[in-house]
Amino acid sequence: MRTLVVLAIAIAALFGTIVAGTQFSKATLVPKLALDLEGGTQIILTPVLDTGATVSDTTITEAIRIMRQRVDSSGVSEAQITSQGGRNIVVGIPGKPDQATLDLVRKSAQMRFRAVLGVAAPDAKSTTATPSASATATAKPSAGATPTAKPSAVATPTASPSAVATPTAAPTTQSTDLPAKPTSASDPAYLTPGLMAVFDGLDCTKPENRRGGGADDPARPLVACDPTGTQKFLLGPVELEGKDLSSADSGLKMGPNGVVTNEWVVNLQFTGAGAKKFGAITTRMKPATPPFNQFGIVLDGLVISAPAVNDPILNGQAEISGGNITRTSAATLANQLSFGALPLTFSVQSEEQISATLGAEQLQRGLLAGLIGLVLVVIYSMLQYRTLGLVTVASLVIAGTITYGLITLLSWTQGYRLSLPGVAGIIVSIGITADSFIVFFERVRDELREGRTLLAAIEQGWERARRTILAADGVNFLAAVVLYFLGVGGVRGFAYTLGLTTIVDLVVVFTFTHPVLRLLARTPFFAEGHKFSGLDPNQLVSAGARYRGRGQVARPALAGAAPQVADDGPRLTIAERRAAAARAQAAADGNDAADAGSASSKGSDN
């Protein structure tokens, strides 16, 4: 009873919050819909190169990836991003996006090279990695300064989680004295308390901090995350721009004698001006202690790689190699670098309102069909469970109400939008939610068949059903969590709905169905097992002796049934056994007479 009140209060609070939200904030009483159901704004962008050259397919793909990264990390809004005609990018954003979202899309992606001033674990609370604190404990054994014939430098990428260190442990620390004015971009004097506070406060485990697209000031230090949220970086001012890089590709590393090794590397080729600047940077960084010997490559506000310098590179040909670069990761990094090397800006071709792709009439028909299906569900459960079916229906209604409320709430607070896949998830959830009740009811019936009284049957059945429901819902929730954290776009929206409905299912069955059934069990209608209650013991009992209470045992009147002494049930009295044997005798003797007295008396075959 108390749980019911709590549930009622919780639901009231949920809707109270939403109503209050509509009054004092911009919440709505209906959930916001995604692009396919509501329509939204379509922005057509054309990537333009300053040089006027044509944009290649890889560039478009990379631009789309960056765009998706920007949009997806700003919530589960399911934007749609496509290329059009091989040169345009079409971004569809549901609803009326605010100015900030539009700006996010329109911004051009910049790649910049900055000196690393600090590296730390991604979460906000972690201690700051001061220059000396970033230990060289995880030094990698390979990828050292091999005696390459050509003067290319070997650098170790450290965007990977564990690697903050380089094999060349530089013992000299040149910048121990702190000048009042920073002398170089690597100068620790940039590490002002204010900046450190910003750095400490940055939580890279939150997706919204990995949105990228940062309009960072080239002249000032920057704190940034890596794209996967495994590290955060404190970076000095910009030293090299993307345009200083002329090309980047990936390939197998050439060994000392021109032999191809099977280690993947990314080769960078700088322009004339870039090579000069890069030479100066690497010369300065070579002797520095980690992490000051690293430079961060920042693309669209995220550190895509932070290699350490092993040798000064004066000829403009650098090589990023080391530990865990694979063929794919080398190719990805090379693509990102080539993309960043382009002086690319996005020019907005058009910005228009578009309607839902799923036409309004189509959606209405679909919903109508879904409604018919629901009515059929009601009819079926009434047929199956009689009055008890009403409990199912009521539970489904409650579950639906809570789901609706939560989705509305989340679309207000989290920017969640309901898409067609989301609706599908909800429709399936009808089945899974109803299943919890069905499992429960069937267990209760099983207990009744065992001969328990209604209240005892409900308790016993609940205990068993609870375990099953928890296990099964747990697996479902696992699916939702995994797909949510690893999926993108539509998959994410679906996972969100699935997880939500699974939790709602648990809440409803625990706080509504079970208490309601217990309450109902006290009413005469159910307790006496009315014919239409769905819990009529007379309909449910067929086999075995059933103890009816008051010392009476109910015996099924099955024609031709041999006396059934339940192996575990109450032993029959001798008189009862004889009576039963007589009855069996009287009945048809076609049965293989299982002799009533012996141990194998259970063999009553039909």
């Binding site: 329509g39 990836r65 496509t82 290329s83 059009q84 091989g86 228009e352 189509q362 679909g366 109508l368 299906g373 629901l374 459960s381 047929l383 199956q384 067609l420 896949p421 429709i427 399936v428 009808i430 089945g431 899974i432 299943d435 069937e442 019936r445 065992e450 001969g451 009284t453 209240l455 049957a457 296990a471 099964a472 819902d473 747990g474 697996v475 479902n476 696992l478 699916a479 995994v482 797909l483 690893l486 999926g487 993108v488 998959v491 679906f494 005469p524 307790a527 006496e528 309909q539 449910l540 086999a543 075995g544 103890y547 008051r550 192996d567 575990d568 109450p570 194998s600 259970k602 075959d605």
Partner: protein, 371 residues
């Protein structure tokens, strides 16, 4: 009908009526194997018709329209290519954007003229261009990675929960069976595979595992103390569990299928809500397959795996020998013929509640203790 169904449920529960699913498992494995082979054949022979979201396709823009009904465009595209699922939306105030998957050059021309005549505009007002996939390879890749991680986690969780890796293996085999069948039906019907359909597949994934866990939980309950008794074999107890959950399985799948079936049959075929049909089809096929496989594949497979286990095998032999010794009829096939696996085989009677206790006569009706 309901009364008959309830009686049937009672008989299944008590073991009076029993379907020997576990015993005839090879029959079901063969049946499913044939279905899977058929699905794979369709998949290989016809392939999947992936939608515009995966492959890109043609986009038409009809300008200066006065009637902005989306149905006109849908009809125009379907008139040219039956299998297409066009995405139609209004752009600005007086333009219609139509996206359709992979059309040949001739079809593009045909659709253009059909759109022009449908909306009553000049052909020059209908422009067409090629658009790239919105569901790029990276989305698929991420979804697949999520899938693999999910499957590994599920295997671990099930192994821990049931304390038996065989159940996890059986559940995953059943899941694979469901997914292949669903994809096979897609290939056979020739529906366009859209992101919604893929989401439907993911839903099936959850549903199939869920259903299997529910059935397995009953098997676990029934076979908990199998080694402590000598009346029934493991296979018999597992089969009893199947029979006892049969009513649940049927009720659940009917309740889950009704809305989906309504959308698929009433919605798509009678009302013409074409864009919902792909997800509804995936759900419909997948749910049937999921229910089927958790009963006919997962549990028998699990029993087959466990039967190889030494302890279980010895136990089974012991039970059968004991039966022969007790003179129970054994049919020619060697399967014990007349063993009624009783409803609550092992557990001693629990407490039936205070109301079941003997009471003094008179006063209140037994079930209504108004305190």
């Amino acid at each position: 009908m309901a009364a008959g169904f309830a009686q049937w449920g009672n008989d299944l529960y008590s073991g009076k009526r029993s379907y020997n699913i576990v015993g005839h498992r090879n029959r079901w494995f063969l049946f499913s194997g044939a279905l899977v082979a058929l699905a794979v054949t369709f998949l290989l022979a016809r392939g999947l018709n992936s939608g515009i979201e995966f492959r890109g396709g043609s986009q038409f823009l009809v300008s200066n329209v006065s009637n902005t009904s989306q149905q006109i465009a849908t009809d125009a595209v379907i008139g040219v290519e039956r299998a297409a699922v066009p995405l139609v939306s209004l752009v600005g105030g007086n333009s219609v954007r139509v996206q359709a998957g992979d059309l040949t050059a001739d079809q593009v021309t045909a659709v253009r003229s059909a759109l022009a005549s449908g909306y009553g505009v000049a052909t020059s007002d209908v422009t067409s261009t090629f658009i790239g996939p919105s569901w790029g390879a990276d989305v698929t890749q991420k979804a697949l990675r999520g899938l693999v991680i999910f499957l590994v986690l599920v295997a671990i969780v099930m192994t821990l929960y049931f304390r038996d890796w065989r159940m996890a293996v059986a559940a995953l085999v059943a899941l694979g069976h469901d997914l292949i069948l669903t994809v096979g039906v897609y290939a056979a019907v020739g529906f366009e595979v859209t992101p919604a359909g893929v989401i439907g597949l993911l839903t099936i994934l959850g549903y199939s595992i869920y259903d299997t866990v529910v059935v397995f939980d009953k098997v676990r309950e029934n076979t908990a103390g199998v080694a402590d008794q000598k009346r029934h074999t493991y296979a018999e107890l597992a089969n009893l569990a199947l029979n006892q959950t049969l009513v649940r399985s049927i009720n659940t799948s009917v309740v889950a299928l009704l809305p989906v079936a309504a959308i698929l049959f009433i919605g798509s075929f009678l009302l013409g809500a074409g864009t919902l049909r792909d997800i509804a089809l995936a759900l419909f096929v997948g749910m049937i397959a999921g229910t089927f496989s958790s009963i006919f594949i997962a549990t028998p497979l699990q029993v087959a795996l466990r039967a190889r286990e030494r302890g279980i095998a010895e136990h089974t032999t012991a039970v059968l020998q004991r039966r022969v010794a007790a003179g129970v009829a054994v049919t020619a096939s060697g399967v014990p013929a007349a063993i009624t696996v009783s409803a609550a085989p092992l557990h001693a009677g629990g407490h039936l509640g205070t109301a079941a206790q003997p009471k003094r006569k008179k006063r209140r009706s037994p079930g209504n203790p108004k305190r």
